[in-house]
Subunit: 325 residues, 2 copies
């Protein structure tokens, strides 16, 4: 299976590494909007300018589109689904129906399979919500994120006046997790579910009290949460906060029995050292599925909900039944 | 969707209750090998003798086969897959390939879909092993069971001389769970993973020391485990141990990155008040999938690995993408 990467940021690099862990896959190259000679890949994979990509249609089985959800993917995924089977990680939940429709039309008219919104949320978390809702129709859903770095919230900190650099961690509240896990079925406010912890490098002479106040009162991002602000040096930030960990929990609690007398808890948890590398690993597994589904004559836009799990594995059906069932 | 139940034990009763939680399903009736007039159902569902079942082919969309894996299902599932779409919970792991082949031939030759080995292990645990292995190809799998009642081990206790009644709980070792969850990648012996706790009602005048010795030294069942034996009265057993709770954990821990520098932990946990009712709830969701897959022209034997998740849900594809993705 021959994969190519479009866009060489953290996710693209994660895909390059993930392909090296899958013996049935090879990386054709990395496509970039930059001058390809200036882009050095981790594995020495070839780099190409994105403008040449359509000339390589017959060398690429699946194109991994690694742009951002705000502006890149809404254009790129429908465009490249005309030429390739594609996988993206579109994660703007509210705009998924529109993105699906655009991508579906492009993919169907060219007999390609386009997998959208792959990763862990949307992605593996969505799958767990679907399975658990189908099994326990009478119940409640809970999703918690963290402990992990939120890119959007870290960006918001760095836009505050007097802030040189910074990083934000989203942390689930332990007592809330325990209440859900114990089947107490709590109603939780935003503040009761997560706290936010900020590590901030101030500019020289900046007003620290003012920075802390501005962060804590920032609407949408921080004002609805209990937020802690720590001021540290650039050296400390670089040394202690260079990673991009993340993770979270999906719970469904529900009742069965004629008198709803029995309680059940389904919990799915991820604890990830590297958010982009794990996301990339999910995308690569779904690239395998996309290629197989197209080989079997399917086409159009697909999500994780549409993919038979067996298509994700390099094992044969017999091996899976013998070793994993 | 019109479902019927074959076999009215704990699982059959669980399915009767689960159908009442799903608005798109109705229960046609319960089929039994006993005199149907002597079988009283929980909801007043009609009872029929199993010998009449093939005359009702046009009234049943999916037959839920609720027999045991040892002797019932190897005969029943291939037999009834000739006449109906069927779902079973066959759980003898070593014999799944043989069962699959027998059921597949019967189902295919009559254009039915037969879902085998549905439940939580095999079933939801298998699915989680498959997904996690596809995402993290370089890693380790761990499955823990409990805390819960093991039917097989409880039966084994009751066969010991001098034992009137008894129940056995399988309990995962907390420190082993923590080591796995922390990514320590431990190698665990049987004894290090689970303990076994037995509640035994002795016959009057029985030799308690001898009972305890026989249980603890029983090969396969107890000798490889740290086992605790408590002697209690029948009243205590009936009062405190009437439930059939179970559950467990599936972990995959794995590495990503060019230098395998990042660790990830995927954890799936079930905590179930009623093992048969939860199992039944999974079977009923897969009955929905079996019927839909047959309606779309598919046939043959299927496992949870073959079913696109969307087929399990009563929601439309648009609703799923809007609310669960």
């Amino acid at each position: 299976m021959r994969l190519a990467i479009l866009g060489y940021g953290n996710l693209g690099k994660g895909i390059e590494a993930a392909i090296s862990q899958n013996a049935d896959m090879e990386l054709v190259g990395v496509f970039t909007r930059r001058d390809p000679d200036t882009v050095k890949t981790l594995t020495g994979a070839k780099t190409y300018h994105v403008d040449t990509i359509t000339s390589m249609q017959d060398q690429i089985d699946v194109l991994m589109i690694c742009g951002g959800s705000a502006t890149d993917l809404p254009k790129q995924t429908p465009e490249y689904a005309k030429y390739f089977n594609v996988v993206d990680s579109f994660d703007t939940h509210a705009k998924i129906p529109e993105h699906f429709a655009n991508v579906d039309a492009a993919a169907k008219s060219n007999n390609h399979v386009a997998m959208i919104s792959v990763g862990w949320d949307p992605g593996m978390f969505s799958l767990n919500r679907l399975y658990a809702n189908a099994i326990l129709p009478d119940g409640s859903d809970y999703t918690f994120w963290g402990k992990g770095v939120s890119q959007g919230h870290s960006d918001a900190i760095r836009r505050v006046k007097g802030v040189k650099d910074g990083k934000q961690y989203t942390i689930p509240v332990e007592s809330a997790l325990e209440a859900v896990r114990n089947g107490e079925n709590p109603e939780l406010t935003t503040r009761q579910k997560h706290t936010r912890e900020c590590f901030v490098v101030p500019e020289e002479g900046a007003d620290l009290a003012q920075i802390e106040k501005e962060i804590k009162e920032m609407p949408n991002y921080f004002s609805d949460y209990d937020t802690t602000v720590h001021f540290i040096t650039q050296e400390e930030l670089d040394r202690d906060h260079a990673g991009i960990p993340h993770g979270g929990f999906v719970f469904r609690t529900g009742k069965t029995g004629l008198h709803k007398e029995n309680n059940h808890v389904i919990e799915y948890r991820l604890k990830l050292d590297s958010n982009p590398e794990f996301t990339a690993s999910v995308l690569v597994a779904y690239a395998r599925a996309a290629f197989r589904m197209q080989q079997e004559g399917m086409s159009g836009c697909k999500t994780v909900f549409d993919v038979p799990p067996a298509y994700l594995s390099p094992l044969s059906a017999e091996e899976m039944r013998a070793h994993l069932l």
